[in-house]
Structures are given as structure tokens and as C-alpha cells.
Amino acid sequence: MLEVENVSTMYGRIQVLWDVSLAVREGETVALVGANGAGKTTLLETVSGMLKPASGRIAFRGKRIDGLPSHAIVELGISHIPEGRRLFPEMSVRENLEMGAYLARVWKDKQEILDRVFQLFPILHARQGQLARTLSGGEQQMVAMGRGLMSRPSLLVIDEPSSGLAPLVVDEMFRIIETLRGEGIAILLIEQNVQQTLEIATRAYVLENGRITLEGASRDLLHEDLIKKAYLGL
């Protein structure tokens, strides 16, 4: 479904990604793990069109998407829930969610999708009139997730949804991701909680200093020495 082939991305003259290749198949949950500064966010931003790769090729369902602007990529069915949430702070929860349904073909069904999102996140229903900037961190992350779902994506790209959240909220976040996985949405997930992430992912990639150094079935990676030492603290 998503094919990233030999992608390199630069910030000006500084190269951050080196020949990265990665794939996500229909309905699959794929984890991308790696230390801070490894380039995980840069990779997701390259996929969603926020950054242009310097070389390489990205295809989604057979169509080349590298070089397309982000508004054209979401149109194809990739929804990126960015690091740090990036909510519209001066808009209400409801308006933030509605913005997620901005695509013309989705906008007319926004009420229906909104009801669905409120089912997943009942707290957002109660908070719908509140300005996004007045929410707690956990609630803000739920708005970001809900907003990302509003475009009815076939691939969800999620960047550190649990960062800075209390353990209970983190569990809630993983529960939601498992629910989505159960609905057949493909997911590419970056997470600091490597153990929990590998448990819900089918496959995983390890990114180190801008290069993929390891990939495989999550079950196998959980027992890989490198992962145990570097990310699981075993």
C-alpha cells in the first residue's frame, strides 16, 4: 500500500535520512522505533508531503506521491497525526474535528463521521464547545487522533501519540489504536513505548541516525538483543 524506496531527506544542506526503504501493506500495523533525533518524524513528514525528499521514491497504492503537496496526499487517503498534535488552538474541539473532514468528498458526511469519533472518544463529545488550547494534554491528543480519523483515511500515520501523557492515558491511546487496527485501517506508528508498540504491531523497523538498521516481524524483534538493550532496558 505504502512503499518508501531509498528516500533521502535534507534540511537545507544537512542530510537527515539516508536511503530509507519501508513498506506498509493493506490493513497492517507497522511500528517505527528509534532514538530521539534518529529521523522518525522527518520520515513521516516526508511521507505526508510536509517535506520533499532529495532523492528516492514514495508510492501509495501504486501512485507516486513524493513531491505532492500535503493537501493532495491526504486526498489519496493518508492521514498524518503529527508530533506535538498541532491542533488549531483558537478553534473549538468540534471545529478542530470538522477541519479533519475538510476534503470536499468527506465534508458532506462530517456529522456522521463526527458521531463515530465521539463514540471512540466520549470525552470529546462533552468537550466539543471548548477551545482546543484549554484542554489537558491527553484530551488534546484525543482531538488530534479524532481529527486525523475524520478524513476516513486508509492509512494512518501517527507520530508519538503518547508523548508526555500519564500512564493511564497512554493505555487508553493504545486501546484506541488497537480498535482502529481491528477496523482494517493500516497504521504506521512511531512510539516511545517500544514494548507496548511491538505488541500491537505486525512488523517493525528500527531507524538509527537516519538509516534503517533492522526490520522484521514485531514478535521476533521483541527478542532481538539490540532491541532489548537499546529500547526495552533489558
Partner: protein, 289 residues
């Protein structure tokens, strides 16, 4: 005494309506599209002169010209953004560099538009008389055209507010102002929304200019004063806040009418003093958070 206070307040509202309108326009261009449009006043001047020409040469009702000036100026603004500013934005090394470059480009526009206007219309002061008869309003007397101006400013302001608050495009504009990259991730074509904002800003200037020409004398060099006033209002109302600009316009109009009552020559000086005080003491605006 009561009547005088009421007089001053109403005169302030009448002035404020225009200020609010032109400030909302500049606020869209600077607050959303990030173009500090120093040539805003020149767009106002264009609206005023188009209306004056249509009235004096063809007898077209200035209220009808409003309906013509708006779309014309919108088109000019929209196209200018696409051919000039969006390219500057793509080429700029950083957002800060873009703001600098686009402001310089606006300086150029200011001179080009102003000189073209002098070539076409000549440099001298012009005016016409339209609905200039006095009417009694809340116990005070005002020229009818001032009341028309206020009415239109309020209606345009409200319509625009509803557009921003309720419509899909209006929401996209607000989202783009607050988090442009995230708006892009939602499917908003940022470049097009910014062009729309710049166009709408020019539209407001055009409407403002047409309304101004009904009550005030006009000349090709009139623009700078209005640019300054719009700039002061958007700082007063909090940069980027459209409702703030609207309310700020009425606030400044009130100040203007109070100062004018005491000493007519000092209104602009008073505006400037307020501007400096807001920048120094409340840089996020009197109405800002």
C-alpha cells in the same frame, strides 16, 4: 453636555466603521497571509477613485459601485498574490525573510499604484456630493452618507464574521492562520487560501475606499494615512485577531472623535501615541490575551 457626549460617541462610531472595515482587510493580509501590505491604503484609494469616476463621469450610484469595487479589487489582490507573493513565499529562506521581502514588494506596489493614479486622475483633491443632507440621529445631526457608511461597515463586518465562523472556507482560513502546516494535512490548499485572504483584504480596502469617497475628499496620495490607521488598529486589536480588528476599529474611531472635538489637528498624533503605547505596554493588543 449630554448631547455633546452623545455627538462625540456617534461621530466616533461613524469614523470607526470605516476603520474597522479597512483594518479587518489588513488583518487578513498580515495576520493570515503574512504580507504586511504597506500598499493597503493604495487599494483603498483605488476603490475611492473608481467610485468617484463612475459617479462623476457616468452618474453611477456609489452604492452600486460598492458591488463593483469589491470584486474588482478582490481579483487584483488574488492575482497579485499568485503571481508575486506566493513566489516570494516559496523562494524565501525563512518565514521572517518572507515577511521582510513581501513588505518591500508592497512598498514597490505603493509607488506604482500611486503614480499610476496620479497619471490617470491628476494629483489634486477630488470629491463629490452624495446623500450629503443632514439627518437627525439619536438627537444629533449627521450627514446621511456617514450613516450609510456606518450601516454598510457593520453589515459587511457581520457577513464576513459569519463567513469565517460558519463556512467550510471560513474555517479553513482560521485554521491556516493558526497552524498552516496542520491545515495542509487536513487537505487545505494553503497557497490558495492565502491568495483568497489577500484578495479578501483588497476587497475590504475597495469597499472601504468606495465608502470613504462618499463622505470625504480623496486624492491619489491619501493611502498612507489609512494604511497607518489600519496598522494601528490591528495592533490595538491584537495581531491576527479579526474580531479584535473590528472592535479595535471602533475604539480608534472613538478616540479620533474625542481628540478631534478637543483639537482637530491632533487626531493622527493621538493615534500614533496610542500605537507606540500599545507596542510598548501591551504588544499583544489591548484586546489580546
Amino acid at each position: 453636555m449630554m448631547v455633546t457626549i452623545l455627538d462625540i460617541i456617534i461621530a466616533g462610531m461613524l469614523l470607526g466603521g470605516i476603520y474597522a472595515l479597512i483594518a479587518v482587510g489588513l488583518s487578513l493580509q498580515y495576520g493570515v497571509a503574512r504580507v504586511l501590505n504597506i500598499a493597503h491604503g493604495e487599494f483603498i484609494m483605488l476603490g475611492a477613485f473608481i467610485t468617484w469616476t463612475l459617479y462623476t463621469a457616468f452618474g453611477v450610484n456609489p452604492l452600486l459601485s460598492l458591488a463593483l469595487c469589491g470584486p474588482t479589487l478582490f481579483l487584483i489582490g488574488y492575482v497579485l498574490y499568485i503571481v508575486l507573493f506566493s513566489r516570494l513565499r516559496v523562494r524565501a529562506a525563512s518565514p521572517g525573510a518572507y515577511e521582510g521581502n513581501s513588505m518591500l514588494a508592497c512598498f514597490g506596489l505603493l509607488f506604482i499604484i500611486q503614480n499610476l493614479a496620479i497619471l490617470i486622475w491628476g494629483a489634486d483633491i477630488k470629491g463629490y456630493s452624495f446623500f450629503a443632507f443632514p439627518v437627525d440621529f439619536a438627537g444629533a445631526r449627521f450627514a446621511a452618507n456617514r450613516l450609510i457608511t456606518l450601516g454598510f461597515a457593520i453589515v459587511i463586518g457581520l457577513v464576513f464574521y459569519l463567513f469565517l465562523a460558519r463556512t467550510r472556507l471560513g474555517k479553513a482560513i482560521r485554521a491556516s492562520a493558526q497552524e498552516p502546516e496542520a491545515a495542509g494535512l487536513m487537505g487545505v490548499n494553503i497557497d490558495r487560501v492565502l491568495a483568497l485572504c489577500f484578495g479578501l483584504g483588497a476587497l475590504m480596502a475597495g469597499l472601504g475606499g468606495a465608502l470613504i469617497s462618499m463622505s470625504y475628499k480623496i486624492q491619489p496620495t491619501m493611502g498612507l494615512e489609512y494604511t497607518m490607521i489600519a496598522l494601528i488598529v490591528i495592533v490595538l486589536g491584537g495581531l491576527g485577531s479579526i474580531p479584535g480588528s473590528f472592535i479595535g476599529g471602533f475604539l480608534l474611531g472613538l478616540v479620533g472623535s474625542i481628540v478631534t472635538y478637543v483639537e482637530p489637528g491632533l487626531a493622527l498624533v493621538a493615534y500614533y501615541v496610542i500605537f507606540m503605547m500599545v507596542l510598548l505596554l501591551k504588544p499583544k493588543g489591548v484586546l489580546g490575551k
